[in-house]
Amino acid sequence: MMISDSYAWDMLTPGNKLRIARFQSKIPVDLVGLANDLGLKVKAATLEPGKSGEIRPDGAGSFIIKVNRHDSHGRQRFTVAHEIAHFLLHNHLIGTGISDDALYRSNQNDQVEREANRLAADIVMPTKAVSNAIATANALGISDYESALADQFQVSRSAMAIKLGRTSTWR
């Protein structure tokens, strides 16, 4: 199976690619470390109904990400990666804040949200690490590895299915 980085990954600067890669050396990816390295604070919060996450200026020159603490752990991780992706790709669009609903829709256009989804997937499910995990599974004769990989990368099974190209892609 061939999987690859998304076009959103290619939108990153070489410096940011290296920066992210440093936190992808171990699986699951160290999202707290990455966020802190980028100067971002991440809070678990009870957001308004229907909200999964948001990124806003923190009033001190950087940004604060809030994630819905009542979502599943895997979903929270994807949401945080999604908000980090907004920071990396759409810093100029954040303004007073981007607030994402359960379908990762916001006040931004669909293209912006698609880019954030694709980069989030590349952050929490690094292509090389996923490929290695698939190769290991194949070597062990494990064919139904989607669930195991989801656990290993601490993402939802549906997120892993999309990464593996088994279901429809991100919006």
Binding site: V32, V42, A44, A45, T46, L47, E48, P49, R69, H70
Partner: protein, 360 residues
């Protein structure tokens, strides 16, 4: 040195291994979980065969934080299961409640409440727990309060005057005369302190009502009583406790209650009940609560308290049929809000500062 100093917490809710209570505590902000110090009554978990099922659920909800535990009183069951035998075994007084001591010793985050059913085995039990060094609770209810002085004498003698010990005066169902009862509770506290000057004392009870027809609000009498005791003795060494807005007495069935959204405030509960069955009833009442005002025009519902209970009420009002749609979910939302409110009683900053550091 106890696992956790009893005097460090402002609130020691007395909870049970029941779904609504564990869901309520599970969904609290981590900082709220850290601040309160629950006393959990170990009992059968739903229809599970083993006590461990309930303990696993407790660990899911409250992780490995220090937790005070006590064995439930005997509950009659039509279909006795292994869990009833396990609990019966933990209640055995033999060897200074040796089974109970072993059970506690094997679970590193449990702080024991001593059992006092058999006076002949209490001292040995206290010595065991004192040696374990995690601290211990002494829960005295209406049945055992007459023996309080004798019990405090024994406890004081074996714990250097109540070091790492917390007495919990559990008054059970609270009535509408909290100030009169405060006089009695002050006397209990004085008696405890004579023999255990180093002990913390928690004062507990529940005035959560059983009947809601024509009832729109209810004073939290246990809070009134506690404040009255503090007014006489000072706050030092005293901790507020209650049942987390659960009734002290056992429910006797009676069918499915009418849809009701309850809203805990600092010193009272508000009730929004309707005869309209099902989710439409819950939605209507949640919507009503969101709009309700006091005589001065201020809203009763505080949307700035960002906890799960608030979210559940908001989602219900917004028509989300996966939010509050059953009495059990409504109860869990109420308990969640009540636990948070009482943890941050007289602390408006803490009450509204609910965000946690995200752990990854």
């Amino acid at each position: 040195m106890a696992l956790r100093a009893f005097g460090d917490t402002p609130y020691m809710p007395l909870l049970s291994l029941r779904p609504a209570e564990l869901r309520a505590i599970e969904e609290l902000p981590e900082k709220t979980k850290d601040k309160l110090f629950p006393i959990v009554v170990l009992r059968p978990w739903l229809s599970a065969n083993m006590l461990e099922t309930g303990l696993e659920r407790l660990a899911d909800a409250y992780n490995d934080r220090p937790t005070i535990v006590i064995v439930s009183a005997l509950e009659l069951s039509d279909t006795p299961r292994l869990v009833h035998e396990q609990l019966a075994s933990l209640r055995l007084p033999a060897g200074g409640y040796a089974k109970w001591c072993q059970f506690i010793a094997a679970r590193p985050n449990f702080v024991p409440a001593i059992q006092i059913t058999d006076p002949g085995h209490i001292a040995e039990q206290i010595s065991c727990f004192h040696a374990l060094g995690r601290g211990m609770a002494v829960i005295v209810d209406n049945r055992t309060l007459p023996g309080l002085r004798a019990l405090a004498t024994v406890v004081g003698g074996l714990t250097d005057g109540g070091i790492d010990t917390c007495f919990v005066i559990d008054l059970g169902k609270q009535t509408s005369d909290p100030l009169e009862r405060a006089v009695l509770v002050v006397a209990y506290c004085t008696s405890i302190r004579q023999h255990c000057p180093n002990a913390t004392i928690a004062i507990s009870g529940s005035s959560f009502p059983a009947d809601f027809v024509g009832r729109e609000q209810q004073e939290i009498y246990e809070r009134t009583l506690f404040n009255a005791v503090v007014g006489q003795l000072g706050a030092e060494g005293l901790v507020y406790s209650d049942r987390g807005s659960v009734r002290a007495e056992k429910q006797s069935g009676g069918g499915l209650p009418k849809p009701r959204i309850d809203y805990p405030l600092d010193r009272e509960w508000r009730f929004y009940r309707t005869e309209t069955e099902g989710f439409p009833g819950y939605r209507d009442r949640a919507t009503h609560l969101l709009r309700a005002t006091r005589p001065d025009g201020a809203r009763i519902f505080d949307a700035q308290i960002r906890v799960w209970g608030t979210l559940m009420i908001e989602r219900t009002a917004a028509g989300d049929t996966s939010a509050i749609k059953t009495p059990a979910r409504s109860t869990a939302a109420r308990i969640n809000l009540h636990l948070h409110r009482q943890t941050f009683y007289n602390d408006p900053v803490g009450l509204h500062d609910t965000d946690d550091e995200w752990a990854g």
